[in-house]
């Protein structure tokens, strides 16, 4: 979390674009990863990420920081948009398009085994329920706290722990089946 995140939010709420720009810089990779892992489609992920920040910027005045982390608010927007995306477009997305890799920062030629395993895991993740996917990405990929995750999925912290455990078990099973 940014040290002066609270100040940036206050400034952004006041209409200061540069303050929101700094928040964007901080959260863009996480939100992009989150959306990409959910959609498995780079172009769609870029469009949706753009929409997430656009919506956040337009509605930042409605954000109330009392006990509700800004990250959770962004993830919640992202989650809603990806759900809408699935409702509208999922039947039209081919399997070929549903590839997470190669993405910037990963060279599949250099480390083909890791890339293949990770690709397999990405496919297995898409077999999980929406809430399970969200919890796994937020907890294990973006390393958000239980509290932040619970706020984003609108569940209790206990429920998040349970979902997380169940999701990991499912992933293990799905990965074993693929081998």
């Amino acid at each position: 979390m940014l040290e002066d995140e609270r100040n940036l939010i206050i400034r952004a709420k006041g209409g200061e674009a540069e303050a929101f720009g700094l928040l964007y810089d901080e959260y863009l990779p996480k939100i992009y990863r989150f959306v990409l892992l959910k959609t498995g489609h780079r172009e769609e992920a870029e469009d949706l990420t753009h929409q997430v920040f656009l919506q956040a910027w337009r509605n930042i005045r409605n954000y109330d920081d009392r006990g509700y982390p800004f990250s959770s608010w962004l993830y919640r927007i992202a989650r809603n948009l990806t759900v809408d995306y699935y409702r509208r477009l999922r039947p039209n997305v081919s399997l070929e398009d549903c590839r997470v890799f190669p993405a910037e920062g990963i060279d599949p030629e250099a480390d083909l085994d890791i890339s293949r395993e990770t690709e397999k895991l990405a496919r297995a993740m898409r077999e999980l329920k929406d809430t399970e996917q969200t919890v796994v990405i937020m907890r294990f990929v973006d390393e958000l706290s239980i509290k932040e995750t619970a706020a984003a999925v609108d569940k209790s912290e206990g429920a998040v722990k349970l979902i997380q455990h169940r999701a990991i078990q499912k992933l293990k099973k799905l990965m074993a089946e693929e081998k």
Partner: protein, 152 residues
């Protein structure tokens, strides 16, 4: 469990394209500024609230009046119906009063004549005299026969 978790950490290497990140940022901050702040003016808001409250009261008052008026109109119609019925009843009663009054005066007149002249109308001689003056012939047997034929 640990293996899956470490594999999941590999996803952190995913980064958005730098070109996309830059273009998205510029587009976002240039074209979609936050909605302008609404300046809260206490007195203006107070005035607005009062105006709204007064308008609401006026609307309620007018609605009530309209309800009362419609109720009055309905009542008036009912009243008129009832009045028409009463008018008929009064007319009937007046006719009865007139009839009884006329009857009473005629009865009174007849009684006073009878008291003054005595029962002269029952005098046998007078009746005979009147019968002769009417020249009623005694041949009424035909009529009786005809009546018997009709009846029986």
């Amino acid at each position: 469990m640990e293996q899956i978790e470490s594999q999941l950490k590999n996803f952190r290497k995913i980064q958005p394209d730098k070109g996309f990140a830059l273009m998205c940022r510029e587009d976002l901050l240039a074209s979609a500024s936050a909605k302008p702040a609404i300046k809260i003016d206490l007195w203006r808001n107070l005035g607005l609230s009062l105006s709204l409250a007064l308008t609401a009261m006026l609307v309620v008052f007018m609605a009530q009046n309209a309800a009362v008026s419609s109720y009055s109109i309905a009542n008036l119609e009912k009243f008129e119906e009832e009045t028409a019925l009463s008018q008929d009843q009064i007319n009937i009663t007046l006719a009865e009063i007139n009839y009884h009054s006329e009857l009473a005066s005629k009865t009174s007149m007849a009684l006073s004549e009878a008291a003054a002249e005595g029962p002269s109308h029952l005098n046998q001689n007078l009746l005979m005299k009147e019968a002769e003056s009417l020249k009623i012939d005694s041949g009424t047997g035909d009529v009786d026969i005809l009546l018997d034929q009709v009846i029986f």
